[in-house]
Structure formats: C-alpha cells, structure tokens
Symmetry: C2
Subunit: 338 residues, 2 copies
C-alpha cells in the first residue's frame, strides 16, 4: 500500500465536465493516500473550478481543446491534438502516469487510445469491459460497445483479457468463461458464436459454454464474452430495466401518505437495496488490450460515480492489469491468433 499511483484525469470530459471531475478527483485523493492525480484541461477553468481547494497530490496539466460528446471520433483524433482526452492518454504513453480516466466520447476515447498506445501483441482491437452486478459474484462482461462486429478470434482474445482481469482483480484462479448466446443448446446461435465456442474449447481457458442474457445476472460465469453490439444491448437493456423498476418503486412509495410513511419505515432496507444496484458503484469500464491502462466512466457520472472510476483505475494499476494480459496473451499466442 506504500507505493504511489499516478493517474491522469480528462477533467473536461463527461456531461457535467469540470464540476464533476474536479470534485471526484478531490474525493478520490481523500480516500486513497497512494493517489497522485494530473487534472488535464483548460488551466484557467481548472483553477476556477478548484477555488481554494487543493492537494499536494493534485497537479494541473493544461490542454487547450475539448472533444465534444457527439464529435466524430476520426475528426477528434485528427484535429484535436491538444484535447484534454488526448493529453490524458499521451501522459500514459510517456510514462508520466500509469493510467488515464475519462468520461468522454467513447468512440473518440477508443480511437485515440488505440492510436496513441497501440494494441498489445496478439490483440486486433481493444474491447470495453466492466463488472456487472449479479446474484452471485460480479462477472466481467466484454465487449460493451467498441466493436460492433467481431471475428471468432477476436472473441477469443476478449475471453483471454476478461479472464486475466477476473483473476487479477477478483482473485479467481480459473475464472469461468462463457459466450453470450440465445440458447444453451448447441444448435442455437450464429456461425461466429459457434466458431468462437470451438476456439474457446481448445484455448486452455476454463470455458463453460453458453450463457443467456438472464444468466449474466445470476452469475453463471465470471467472464461473459460477446461482440460489442450484443454486449452493449445486454448492458443497456439491463440498465434500462433496473432504472424502470427504480422509477416504479419511487412512484409506488410516493403514491399516498400511507406509502410515504411505509417508505420511511423501509428506508434502511431501501437504501441497502439501492446501494446494491446503484450503477454508480459499477462505474469504470476498462479499455482492454492496449499498451497502457485507460478507464472509461459513464458520461452522465456524478462525482461519486466518477470517483469510483478513478478507484478502478488505481486498482488496475496496483494489479498491473496491462502486464498480466500481456503475459497471458504471450502464453496463449498460438490459439489467439490462429
């Protein structure tokens, strides 16, 4: 715990920008004494947002441009070489920090990270990976949206990376790896899934077969592999259903004076429940497969939520995720690039 951890923060990123990222940085510094944070963004605006608040472990790094949330990834990459997003990743590349955290435009973040850091040997394209809540455990799911279409080989690469993450971060020696599919029987699914299943069977990973959408949240696997289209739909649909249930619950508990009194009585229970399904506690997705660590926060994150993404970055540095994936890939090389 004595070691220091250096991170860059894309302070201009996210739907709420500086207002959220600065508070989140201070929150994270207060909680974790190992942290040293480089806040990247417009220096004048950073100073204004900080006001009198400061920390010896907080550094400002000026960047003159900002990538908009709806900006084209290729244009951002080409035209904004001094954006807070780009500079935060450049700091990883130069070794000044060990990981970058951004709540910015996913496409631009992915394109920039890939361009600046390059992918690890044996990895065609990086994937977005995050832990999901589940009745049992906390499975990692990937890809969550970086790659709309994937080859069987890419799905195998995702499996290797997800397994490395589960082992390093959750201490699971032989994580159960499953492919997201529409049925557990061999006959279902499409050709890509079937070919990926064959690759996984021969991979040396603890491949346990197919899992359906509901199986993710029962914790039937430690690592759930899908292409970015299907993974994103699974994630967003689950988030949407959870949000709908929270809305229904709120509506029912505010319906009358009786229900509002019931809500007061049930408050400790409801708070515990809320904490278990609060998406803020799951914020912080990993861009896996790069020569360096980059963590993506939800664009809509508040300070608590963004601070959680910073904590994820710190834990990934602590567990040397990039190094571990690199060694696992080297060991699995023949299968992965077959």
């Amino acid at each position: 715990m004595a070691e220091s951890i250096h991170l860059s923060i894309d302070a201009m990123s996210g739907d709420h920008g500086l207002k959220t990222t600065v508070d989140a940085a201070l929150l994270a510094l207060a909680v974790d004494p190992r942290l040293h944070l480089a806040l990247v963004g417009d220096e004048a605006q950073l100073r204004a947002a900080l006001g009198r608040k400061s920390s010896a472990r907080l550094h400002l790094r000026h960047a003159s441009e900002v990538v908009a949330m709806d900006e084209s990834p290729s244009k951002a990459l080409r035209n904004k070489k001094d954006s807070s997003l780009r500079v935060a990743i450049d700091l990883v590349k130069s070794g000044a920090v060990q990981a970058a955290v951004s709540a910015g435009n996913t496409g631009a973040l992915m394109a920039t990270a890939r361009f600046v850091l390059k992918t690890l040997p044996g990895i065609d394209r990086p994937a977005i990976c995050a832990p999901m809540p589940a009745t049992q455990g906390c499975p990692y799911m990937l890809d969550l949206g970086a790659n709309a279409e994937c080859s069987p080989e890419q799905l195998l690469q995702f499996a290797v990376m997800g397994a490395a993450l589960a082992t390093a971060m959750q201490g699971i020696t032989r994580p159960r790896v499953a492919l997201l599919n529409i049925g557990e029987e061999e006959i279902k699914g499409n050709d890509t899934i079937k070919a990926a299943a064959q690759l996984l069977q021969g991979s040396g990973l603890n491949y346990t077969g197919y899992v359906e959408g509901d199986g993710i949240f029962r914790g039937e696997a430690d690592v759930v592999v899908a292409d970015g289209f299907v993974g994103n739909v699974a994630l967003k649909s689950a988030e949407g259903a959870a949000k709908m249930i929270r809305d229904f619950m709120k509506a029912e508990f505010t319906r009358s004076s009786y229900t509002m009194a019931a809500a007061l009585v049930a408050k400790p229970v409801l708070n515990r429940l809320a904490a278990r399904i609060d998406p803020r506690n799951y914020n912080g997705a990993s861009l896996l497969g790069l020569n360096g660590l980059v963590i993506k926060s939800h664009g809509s994150a508040d300070a608590t939520s963004f601070a959680n993404a910073i904590a994820v970055a710190a834990r990934e540095v602590e567990h040397d995720i990039s190094g571990r994936i690199r060694s696992l890939l080297a060991a699995a090389q023949p299968a992965v690039t077959a």
Copy 2:
C-alpha cells in the same frame, strides 16, 4: 363481446405440463365467457388432470405424442405428427379453432407453425413478438429469438407486423417504430441496421430512428425491431436484471426482525410494485407472419401466467391480427419485398 372465441391449447407443453395448462384453461374459461378451449394431449392424462372439474366450453382432443422441451425442431416436425403441439396447430389450419397456445419448445413450435400454416405473402420468416414493460406505454419488441440472423428486408417486415399489432391491440394509430442499436448517432451500428434504417425511412411507417437497450424500457418507441439474436439478448438481460433486483429486495427485507416488520408495513406498496414488473403479466408472445395465430407461453409459466397467454390469444382473435397484418403487408408490398 357476444362472439365466441375458439382456441386450442397444447396441454402437454411447458416445464410443468398438464398440471399448469389444465388449471390455466379453467382459469381462462372462468374469466372470459366467450372462450371455448380444445385441450390437446393424452386423453387419459387429461381426464386424470381434470378430475371432477369440467366446463361445457372445454373440449378434449387426443394426441398420442409429446414434443420434449429439448427435442430437435426438425426431428419433432418430421417424426411427431400426432404430438399435442402439432395437433394444436393443425386445428388452426383446419379452421376448427382461431388460435393455438403452447408453452412448448420454441424451435419446434416455430418450425411446425411455419410448416403447417405457411407464412403470409411478403413474409420470409415469422418472428416472435411480445410487449415489454416500460415507464411509459408498453412497447412491442420483435424478433425475440426465432431468427438469429436477419436481412434488412426481414427487419422491415418485422416492423410492419409489429406496427399492425400495436395499432390493433393498443389502438395507437401511428405507432413509433424504432430499430434497436448501440447508439443513436448515424455512425454507429452495423451494415444490416443501417440498410434497414434506409428501408424504414421509405416505408410509410412512423419510423423514429434508433433506440438503445435502455430506451426500450423508457418507452421511447411503440415497436422495437431487432434481429432474433439481439432481441432475445435484450429481453433475457432485462428479465435477468429484474429477477436479480427482486432477489436482492427479498434478501434485504428478510435480513432482520426490523426489516421483516418494515416489509409488513410496506407490503401493499411492494405488492403493487411486484404486479407492475411481474413477468407473468407479460406472458404470451405472438408468432407473427403466419396464416393463423399462434401464441407462445414461457416454458416455465405457472397457471396464472399461462392463463395470461390464453387471454393474449383471445385478444388477438378478437382484433383479427392475422387479417390486419395481411392487409398492411398487401399495402406495403413493394417496399417490403424490395
């Protein structure tokens, strides 16, 4: 309301078979005086399950075989010509009943329905469609798993059928039709989705663009179109998340004597909430695109849930869904088969 409605029930189907389907049939008959039900299955077993219970509107129809839940669809179709599933659909074909309800093997049900009833003119393959709970409205989603891969033209056909269902069943004159995608920006998604978007824009339907997984449950569209792989993953992921939240809620409310007392106080609220998200209230998916109506119940349905699927069948008969889709397709023909 005076008109009578005749349905066949695949009484041997589902995880619980006769025990569920017979009770569900009696439940449905008690609620809806228009209903006449043909219970299809092993006659001796049917009589035993009924015991002394009976109804003048309940008829038994012997079928000597049963399609197992995990049986290969093609084998079931080829070898089991006297299965309860097949006979229930044959009764639709012959005009003896107006719709069939089964909780059986989805693949076998789909293959058999397609073989016996044939698809409507302009429809390549039938799709599975069901209403989803949402904060606003109750959107229909299709395909939920019949077709793992779909062409843009098929997605357009699904859109036409889903819109017909929303108009007929929910009285929405110009239902908002959206494509399930991983982003709302034009740049995202795969080639099939982009081509389908172009077809929909020229279709005359009220096409409103892309919707993400979470948008389904916010009710951003009245009809959500996806291929069967993506649609099934969205459905199952949402179901899984909802089930997980119910499990968490139960665990939190049974944690201590205080929380159990709180649960008692909150019981009326929790019951109302439970009813709003109870999957049993959404049971009954439509196999759309056939010359005849077939309703698929969840395999795990209990009697209440299966009775809901029977009620869905009755409403679809009442609203002449098959006829309406046929007319809409005839009107949209040039675009649909372009």
